[in-house]
């Protein structure tokens, strides 16, 4: 039998403990107050309760409630326009950059309100990195791509070590170690995507968000990214949006299935979570007929 986990002790023992997201002292009403009454029964890195996102007066996703576990891979699946990407962008406050976007409901990260006034969005995005659909290396050398974030953040230690560690963790070091000073655009698509993952890892996040990270890659590169995800899961929590059902089945521990609902006047399409469960359950015996229809490809 394994001993029960102690998140606080584990955090203290981490090479890079998870720092507070606050740039200011928390207000009395934040973590010590209402949020403290909603501590997760099991260890959850994110707790979503009634989360809704709107662009202007148009709701994009509505009433999302589930927990995302620590050191797990959570897949978000569903048809186009169901709000998967909208939701994943809420997890590191990327939607802050869209003026018309509003987020309501409760979204806790390590038990803290991610959208509390005193939370620094830049610190959030440092702790919660993101990898996008299309590899987006900077027009710089491989080395400088990795070193960029740590330099901006003023991270201490040998930059060479930071670069090597990040590239090694992203399983691309052996392929590029002899050409670190060459332009990153000279890498293959799969290598560029792993470089982007390395760039994300270089600033020591504890969550990696991936928005269709393999949709532009060939099967070999996709396989490498999937292997990498399974390795990274030991140290990081990963949330992935994917349209590839088999990819979700192969790599994730938990899966949330989203669907699109039309409102009463049939004008607005809003994303809802139909089912959230163990991935094995979702792909062998889903509990909801809508999930069944989607994963079996009967409706798209």
């Amino acid at each position: 039998m394994t001993e029960p986990r102690d998140p606080q002790r584990e955090n203290a023992e981490r090479e890079h403990p998870i720092p507070s997201l606050h740039t200011r002292e928390p207000s009395e009403a934040a973590p010590g107050g209402e949020a403290a009454q909603h501590q997760p029964a099991r260890e959850a890195i994110f707790q979503l309760a009634g989360v809704s996102v709107s662009y202007g007066d148009k709701p994009a996703v509505r009433d999302i409630t589930f927990d995302i576990g620590n050191n797990e891979i959570t897949a978000l699946i569903g048809p186009s326009g169901c709000g998967k990407s909208t939701l994943i962008r809420c997890l590191n406050r990327m939607n802050d950059l869209i003026p018309s976007a509003t987020v309501s409901g409760r979204l806790l990260y390590h038990g803290e309100d991610l959208y509390a006034k005193e939370v620094d969005a830049v610190e959030v995005r440092k702790r919660i990195g993101m990898v996008f659909q299309k590899p987006n290396p900077f027009p710089k050398s491989i080395y400088d791509n990795i070193a960029f974030g740590p330099r901006v953040l003023g991270m201490k230690g040998s930059m060479d070590d930071i670069v090597e560690r990040a590239l090694t963790r992203a399983a691309v070091w052996d392929e590029v170690k002899d050409r670190l000073k060459t332009n990153a655009f000279g890498m293959s698509g799969g290598q560029q995507q792993r470089l982007c993952i390395a760039r994300c890892l270089a600033v020591e996040p504890d969550v990696i968000l991936m928005d269709e990270p393999c949709s532009a890659l060939d099967p070999i590169s996709t396989g490498k990214i999937e292997d990498l995800m399974l390795e990274l899961e030991k140290e990081y929590s990963i949330v992935i949006v994917t349209h590839n059902m088999q990819q979700a089945a192969r790599v994730s521990d938990k899966t949330a299935f989203f669907t699109v609902e039309l409102d009463a006047d049939q004008k607005n399409r809003t994303g809802r979570v139909v089912e959230f469960d163990d991935t094995e359950k979702i792909f062998t015996n889903p509990g909801d007929a809508r999930t069944e229809a989607y994963v079996t490809g009967k409706v798209g």
Binding site: T284, N285, R290, T291, E292, A293, V295, V299
Partner: protein, 235 residues
Amino acid sequence: MSDTSRTHFQDELASLERMALGGLDMVSTSLERAVETVVNQDVELAGMVISDDDRIDGRYLEVHQGVLSLLARQAPVATDLRTVAAILHVIKHVERMGDQCVNMAKLVPLAGHEPPSDQRLLDNIRRMGAQARQQVVQSKQAFERRDVELAQDLVRQDDEIDKLNRDCFHLALEIGDDLDRREWAMHMMLVARCLERIGDNAVDIGEQTAFVVTGLFREFEDASHPELAPPTPAA
């Protein structure tokens, strides 16, 4: 929600299921012939049962390859995945039931030209054959209709064939001291055993029906723990 896509895959899956269940029709025919062979000591018919088993084996290989192909190309999930897995089980049972028919047919020439038979034992074998055949047909219907209740009723049916099997045993014990009659009775016990196993295979197919429908696999009857078996529906 209506089915709007993957129709080609759904057609392929339905075709594969029809092929597997068609195997049960082949078994049903083979079973009927095997029992007739035993009861009438018909060596010619026995040869036909044995040679026709190649068709059942061929069906097994065909469905097995179809299952592999569907898994590789279509990556089925959820109910589709369970159906594919169940089809693989069904066709394996079809192949085994076919082999049991062959086993029965092969015993016929061993019993000799005009064996010293016992009418009560032969009647019992005939009843077992009819019961086994009914179970094979019912297992097919239950799977086709995704009828869990009908599938579970196979347990009750199987109790019947088990009872007839025990009756065969007792009749064989009472056959007397004549060595030829005792040898013949031993052969009939082996035939009864084959028929009893076919009944078990039919129950296993019923379990696959329940698995496809509910997503949960459990044995209708646990031979090692009969006390844990759920109550069977009333007949």
